[in-house]
């Protein structure tokens, strides 16, 4: 029965290496490519992330339908909605200002970008700031607006998982069509040559 629940060094290194390999090949070490999503001139972030979500969600659904995996066998984040919203706000602002998210800053640093190293330093400082302020006030914020009925959309609201995956696949087609239109109406996606040169003036 899946998953194997391995927690060892080999699975960590290998899954991580594949993750870093794919992110770098998608262009996600480049801060001007990443933030192009927010300028609406390069939709690679949404296209790649959304495609990956649909593929992985469909894969998990298939494994569960075949009876090879229990429905609740993989880790699902708790439905703490205030924490998710405040976190999304700060990580979104940090991405727009700093040019990376935490994972892509590692890719940026290891494709030679020193500013990504500074972003990583900022991540550590942000963690210390959080730890220093951690107490009842932050805890009550993090526990606010919890969905009690369940952590997933199917569990909490009874929406069938296959309907969600199909709906996301349809929305994904929209992202490629609409994103392509925005890209053609602007300067378009950042190429590898442009990314290697660094963000243009």
């Amino acid at each position: 029965m899946l998953p194997f629940n391995d927690a060892g060094m080999v699975s960590g290194l290998l899954c991580g290496a594949l993750f870093g390999w794919v992110l770098e090949n998608a262009g996600f070490g480049s801060p001007c490519k990443l933030t192009g999503q927010f300028r609406l001139s390069d939709w690679s972030v949404l296209k790649v992330m959304f495609t990956a979500i649909v593929v992985a969600a469909a894969g998990l659904l298939v494994l569960q339908s075949l009876g090879w995996m229990e429905a609740d066998a993989v880790f699902v984040p708790s439905a703490m909605l205030a924490a998710a919203a405040v976190g999304g706000l700060l990580v979104g602002a940090g991405f727009a200002v700093g040019g990376y998210c935490p994972g892509t800053s590692v890719v940026g640093l290891f494709s030679g970008r020193l500013d990504a190293g500074v972003f990583l330093l900022g991540l550590l400082l942000g963690t210390f700031a959080f730890a220093g302020l951690y107490g009842p006030a932050i805890e009550s914020l993090m526990n606010a607006a919890e969905v009690m009925a369940g952590d997933t959309l199917p569990d909490a609201y009874g929406i069938p998982a296959w309907a969600l995956v199909l709906g996301m696949a349809a929305a994904l087609v929209g992202v490629f069509v609409w994103g392509g239109r925005f890209e053609r109406a602007s300067r378009g996606p950042v190429t590898a040559n442009e990314a290697v040169e660094g963000a243009a003036p």
Binding site: G12, L14, F38, F75, M80, V106, R113, G198
Partner: protein
């Protein structure tokens, strides 16, 4: 060839990035493999948080041990000996290999040409600080909560991603960070 250009800029030709569809399919399969192998998805800030705990232990042991957030991480043995630390080390190695092989490895301050090195250092530091704090509030980042959570149809993941994109769009209109 310009004799002043560094060796690494012309030794290997710059290869184009993958098409977003194929990059997305590949990323989805890597994520699925991770779920099957380990029972959870991919992440990033789990490792930087443990690195913070480890650095805290080296620099301010009393504060770190007594801290209600970092303390428990230190109690459970060496904070860096965890799956997520190996995974982030793997990300570094995979990205380095890919960038080198594809001629995209170049040491630079990205953003120096657009906004200047001094300003770029400030935006990178402030951005990292905001993201680091936010990822602790949400108990996850774009990878761990957004990407991996959404694949499990988690409600928190969709809330995180929706707010992430809207705020990113708005802040980009006000501040140029790169």
């Amino acid at each position: 060839m310009d004799t002043k250009t560094a060796w690494h800029e012309h030794v290997r030709p710059v290869r184009p990035f993958w098409h977003p569809l194929w990059a997305g399919v590949a990323l989805g399969l890597v994520l699925l493999l991770t779920f099957i192998w380990t029972g959870h998805g991919l992440g990033a800030t789990g490792a930087t948080t443990r690195l913070s705990a480890w650095m805290g232990l080296k620099m301010a042991p009393a504060f770190t041990a007594a801290n209600p957030y970092l303390g428990p991480m230190v109690d459970n043995g060496h904070p860096l000996s965890s799956w997520i630390s190996w995974q982030v080390l793997g990300v570094a190695l995979g990205a380095l290999a890919s960038a080198f092989w594809a001629g995209r490895l170049r040491v630079q301050w990205d953003g120096e040409r657009s906004i200047g090195r001094g300003r770029r250092i400030v935006t990178a530091l402030v951005g990292g600080l905001l993201a680091g704090f936010g990822a602790r509030v949400a108990a996850g980042c774009t990878s761990g909560l957004g990407l991996s959570g959404a694949a499990t149809l988690s409600i928190a993941a969709f809330v995180f991603l929706a707010v992430f994109f809207v705020v990113g769009l708005l802040v980009t209109r006000v501040i140029r960070g790169v």
